[in-house]
């Protein structure tokens, strides 16, 4: 039960949804596993946009587009042989939940322990976001978190990889490192307050880029986690053992 919820709105258009989502007591809902698990007591109104977002994956000649309503499991299956599918799968060990959780919701949550979020930032995918009354294009790394995501698009040829570090395979990763071989851009997630983004050059720059990213916790010290990021980068650039 989510006892604080009094209304469920099912708007006819994204514009309407956007207008309805006007207070701290309302929230957008698509997939919604995070929201239901958290059952935030201050929420009185749920604006369900499930029926307004696409749940298809389209591959064109050079680009791929994924509707915001596509589930993590759909992605895991569609891209079964690539790093995208692997990351969608690893983002949530439970297939039951991957059947429920949408990519739009996953991005909107901005959780840095999600492999797929780190990967999409490593590609720096383009988002189509409905803000106020218009659909805008914005790259995921530049998105300010406002609006309703409707679609994710990116070039097919992204040359990327991702490594995750967890005490056992299904445990939440304490460090995730995504690497773009083309741009040498590196995204770091895991048990972090934010995503760290930097271009790999020298180890000293890594320290600076990761300043304030990690905390000392039961998974390990800041020093240890930075060490792991460096090991990952070394493996990307020198070849994985």
């Amino acid at each position: 039960m989510w006892t604080s919820v009094q209304n469920i709105e099912q708007p006819a258009t994204l514009l309407e949804a956007s207008k309805l989502n006007n207070s701290e007591h309302s929230t957008l809902f698509s997939g919604g596993t995070y929201l239901v698990a958290q059952k935030n007591k201050s929420i009185h109104t749920i604006i369900d946009i499930n029926h307004l977002v696409e749940n298809k994956i389209e591959e064109k000649e050079e680009t791929i587009s994924i509707g915001a309503g596509v589930t993590l499991q759909q992605i895991a299956e569609h891209f079964a042989k690539s790093v995208i599918g692997r990351c969608a799968q690893q983002s949530c060990y439970s297939k039951n939940i991957r059947n429920q959780r949408t990519i739009g919701g996953e991005i909107a949550q901005q959780s840095s322990t999600s492999d797929i979020n780190v990967l999409l930032r490593t590609i720096n995918v383009n988002l189509k976001v409905f803000v106020e009354d218009q659909l805008i294009d914005v790259s995921i790394c530049e998105w300010n978190g406002k609006g309703i995501i409707s679609e994710i698009t990116f070039a097919k040829d992204a040359n990327i990889d991702l490594k995750r570090y967890a005490v056992i395979p299904s445990a939440p990763p304490f460090v995730i490192v995504g690497y773009n071989y083309t741009t040498k851009n590196c995204i770091v997630g895991g048990r972090t307050d934010r995503f760290a983004t930097f271009v790999v050059d020298k180890n000293e720059q890594v320290d600076k880029a990761l300043e304030g990213c990690f905390t000392d916790d039961h998974n390990g010290s800041i020093k240890y986690k930075i060490h792991v990021v460096k090991v990952a980068l070394n493996d990307f650039t020198e070849g994985t053992p």
């Binding site: 009094q6 469920i8 239901v36 499930n50 439970s94 297939k95 039951n96 939940i97 429920q100 299904s170």
Partner: protein
Amino acid sequence: MKIAFTLNGQETKAEFTPGETLFHYLRSDEIYSVKNGCELGECGACTVLVDNKAQNSCLILMHTLEGTVVETIENLGSKSNLHHLQQKFIDEGAVQCGYCTPGMILASEALLRESEQPTSEQVKDALAGNLCRCTGYVKPIKAVCNE
């Protein structure tokens, strides 16, 4: 609020309050085979099938189910007519306390509907969201793999 959906083969009109989860609805309806292990989506004890896919009923709000087909273990087999997976779980000793068992069988059934002869990797992946503290998963995996 009201919706119409199919629950265990029956056309069902459900009435519920806006924040009600499928898990809560089912247990209130005395379908006790869906179990509470966390109500956070972490354990899978409340697994159901929605349109043939295994999902955690504690994370499903009732209003999203309009027109869907929902199944619990009761729809697979009964005491007098067990589903082959239920029998397999008994035969292989895959049941210990039995609390996670209905959810685990449903998650297995969803996989078998997708793929008749899944690999052991696929079985492990399909059951990873169903926590079990008794079996170490050895016998449940065997029960599904030998299907």
